[in-house]
Amino acid sequence: MTSEKTLTYAYYPGCSLHASAGEYDLSTRELFKALEIGLTEVPDWFCCGATPAHNVDELLSLSLCAKNLELAEAVEGDLAVACASCFSRLKFTQHTLVENATKRTQVEKALDAPLKLDGKVKHLLDILARDLGLERLAAAVKKPLTGLKVACYYGCLLTRPTDVPNLDCVEAPTIMEQVIEAVGAETVAWTHRLECCGANFTLSRPGVVIQLTNAILEAAKAAGADCIMVGCPLCHGNLDIRQKEIEGVYSTSYNLPVFYLTQLVGVAVGLESAKLGLEAMIVNPLPLLKSKGLL
Amino acid sequence: MSRIGVFVCHCGENISRTVDVERVAAHAATLPGVACATEYKYMCSDPGQTLLKKAISEQRLTHVVVAACSPRMHERTFRKAVEGAGLNPYLCEMANIREHCSWVHEDREEATAKACDIVGMMVERTKKNRVLPAITVPVTKRSLVIGGGIAGIQAALDIADAGHEVVLVEREPSIGGHMAQLSETFPTLDCSQCIMTPKMVDVANHPKITLYTYSEIELVEGYIGNFQVTVRKRARSVNERTCTGCGVCMTKCPQKKIPNKFDQNIGMRTAIYVPFPQAVPNTPVIDRENCTKFKTGKCGVCQKVCGPGAVDFEQQDTLIVEAVGAIVVATGFDLYSISEKPKGSPIKGYGEFGHGKIPDVIDGMTFERLASASGPTGGKIVRPSDGREPKQIVFIQCIGSRAREKGISYCSKVCCMYTAKHTMLYHHKVHDGQAYVFFMDARTPGKSYDEFWRRSIEEEEAVYIRGMVSRLYQKGDKIVVMGSDIAVGVQVEIEADMVVLATAVQPQQGADLLAQKLGISYDKYNFYSEAHAKLRPVECATAGIFLAGACQGPKDIPETVSQASAAAAKVMTLFSKDRLEREPIVARVREAGCVGCFACKKVCAYGAVEEKEIRDRQGNLLRVVASVNPGVCAGCGTCQATCPSKCVELDGYTDEQIVAMIEAL
């Protein structure tokens, strides 16, 4: 990536960012603006189908994602995806349809259109770490996150499935750590970076979610983290929104603010709280940020 | 005055963990006659040996005691080292403080005290050690190979190709062994006969190989380099020289319904027969037990139709004595049978599988004959009971093997692979059939082996079910297989048309008797014992006798061939010298004291004791005394224990040495 080139992307926010994860959407747009990266939302994008679709109807899942990829073709630039689940599905679809001619034929029939499939699907992390580059990112920092201990949580889907060209190493990714360290934060080594939070069962089996999410919170706390950073609205939903409930069930206290990566990077590049939607977080991050002199 | 060096080895931590080696060395230093005592981490290592050699020259040592592992492990090493330092090797002894001490005791105090005792004993013994000059014996550069299976054939060809004569003895009428019975071989699925028969023909045509089939070893005498072997060549009733192998006799023989052992008794043969068409030699044998002529005196058709007049009803067994310098034992294996065993036998049969009485429950070798294109069914897989093609076939692994209750605890090593092969052969021949395999583990170490096994499942659609079968029983024309799938955790039942049992590999019947003739050791299953499990895997403890193939333990074909070639290489090494240095542990007679009672001669199993006349200058006979031929003496010392006046002494184990040890206690 040459530093001279202006970066511009098609943007697929996904359903959550237009609802419960509004602050992820907000902070993404503001951060990219601050970093002078162009971002154009794909018009009339659909739900990717997420887990429920591929869970019971893979053809539907592939078709929905393919439709979105087709819509994104109309917008300049690679496709930037914020949600790990959407990212995983879109990337998987593109890969599967390139590799599997039978499925491609079926999907083209369902869409009643030939597929190009030559655009790139990129997660925000990829754009920050590689397209923009860690040096340029560091150069943009106004308030280094010095002294903030961050537990980077990838969740299960960010680096999966394994045989699809991937964001980072499947079992030992470092991209989140690279990004947040570039803006001055400290990261903690911990055990549950890749464990599943059970997002699929948020609606149907919250008990399962509480059990799995608790283990993640517990591990982050044990590793001495001040906060958790995520790149997925579903993980965020469980870790942040359900944190109080979990503390109640397990009679414990975590008080771990859960940031989207764009929020934390945003703080570092000097965006004010309102542009990052920090107030929308359930676990109040302000005391922590204040204590570190970041607000 | 002796100047003894005592060297105590830590053996890494193997000794020092339980024995206080410093204390042992310190104790040794206090013993009279000990000039120096030291300990070292690894005495057998290069620096360890250097230390020893240096001490010998610097301390002017006269004797050496190495307190370390068993002399069976490293006595040679240290004696060689001592020799390198200019001492006679037999002035060095080992005190076994590892196998006999540190490894078998936990209490450090006790073990250390015992180690001190052992070292003390060996110091006293070593003081009495004398210089023993090397003894050399001539080497007869001919080799005997016992067993004409793939192991024996390979060993014989390798030795013969190196230019040495080989005598190959096979018990059956033809060479070929079990490998000739196999249909195809894993992991390449090439036809066994296609790769075997050219080798058999090579044996028959090799100018350096003398082949005795239908023959057995009667007697083995002598020792390394100088064995005399008596071979019993059983009466074939057909003259091998005149027979042309035309086979007319077999077509005319009226006895046609004799089960053919080569075909696992599912095919039939005549009374005058070759076991299979590609037999080597292609000379028939008359099976006298089933021949009408021999039973009733009437018939003799074969003789009448034989053009060259080769049939000879009068032929007798002949005994042939062969002088050889080395022996390769390659007697192979037998398959375990599930039939009822005699009461008290350590090996049991499988009553739960019907003791072999369910006709369509067969063993793997029978399946080989069914699948073999040259087999009794022409390669069609059919049920022995009604000739129908089995559509549901069940294979069961580990029959006899790994079944302590049945008397065998070892793994037969080849069954996983041959069962995988069977499922493939079956799938190739019965397209609409389904093969199931009950197994406990799949053991497939070997080049391309696991891939082969996976192929049987992934491509050849065999269904493997992890779990042992509890019982088999006949129900109508089906065999009910009661098993379980332990991965699912439920019982499994299959109504099979045929069941194939992967029965264990056992040594040949009578392997122990042959071992006794050869003077080699064998384990509790009668597998022959190698001299060292790791470092001398093809040699017997008895010098000049080597092992090849499954007689030593279960092996597949590539391993067998490797071991056979290794044994052949060992034989060639032995034959590379004209004379052979042997351990000078032999008996000597003190003629001055001998009264000529010849008790020594009476107990000598080797005939090494001779009568020697002592005459005065005029030639008058004064007396007759015993005298030991050191070339023939094997060094057992039975003569010395028998001699009332102890006028015959075994070098290396003299009364002085032994009494010194007893007195050291």
């Binding site: 959550s16 419960s20 009339d44 887990t51 893979e58 079926q106 089996r205 | 699912v488 439920v490």
Partner: protein
């Protein structure tokens, strides 16, 4: 069913079903040699009566009824840990997808209903609105599952934080979505897709 003796024969092993699974999941069940690594790493294994390896094992034996009769496939979180770590490249997560799909086709005899309900509503939402609207999804789920008060405490808080939106608008191109759904239905009717 779970403990019942398995009578195995060419008739009782439903090879066709297994072929369907293999086609849908684009993976081979025969490749599995039951090492158990999938079950070892599965975050949901403790909630399942057939742990993942056993699901594959039953498939190998064509015993799909035993799988579908249980809840296991519905307790899969689709985290793909199993597929990621399988030494034999058996895509167990995809196999799970295929099994759930076939379970729906078979008019699911499964005991698990909440997960299925959530999935159904999710897909209905897409067909009706093009995107997910969490509040609606949650509310309808609670009504349909009879758990009116579930997560009641979370509601006001989320609402206050702007995380739940009362109103939502349909995509402009809803007709295209509907077409995709109906074309897939047609393809299935015509046997052009599974």
């Amino acid at each position: 069913m779970k403990k019942k003796k398995m009578v195995i024969s060419q008739e009782t092993m439903d090879v066709d079903f297994v072929r369907k699974v293999e086609m849908l999941s684009d993976t081979s069940v025969r490749r599995c040699f039951q090492c158990g690594k999938c079950s070892a790493g599965c975050p949901m294994a403790t909630f399942m009566e057939h742990p993942p390896n056993r699901v594959v094992r039953l498939l190998q034996l064509g015993q799909w009824q035993r799988i579908l009769a249980g809840r296991s496939i519905w307790y899969c979180a689709s985290c793909e840990t199993c597929s990621t770590r399988c030494p034999n490249k058996v895509h167990l997560a995809s196999i799970m997808d295929a099994l759930r799909k076939l379970s729906w086709d078979a008019e699911g005899a499964s005991k698990e209903s909440y997960v299925q309900l959530a999935n159904k509503l999710f897909l209905q939402n897409i067909r009706s609105y093009g995107r997910q609207y969490e509040m609606r999804l949650a509310a309808v789920f609670n009504v349909k599952s009879g758990q009116f008060l579930k997560d009641l405490m979370l509601g006001p808080k989320l609402f206050a934080k702007g995380k739940l939106k009362m109103f939502h608008s349909k995509n402009k191109n809803m007709a295209e979505i509907e077409k995709i759904f109906s074309r897939i239905d047609d393809m299935r009717k015509n046997g052009e897709a599974l």
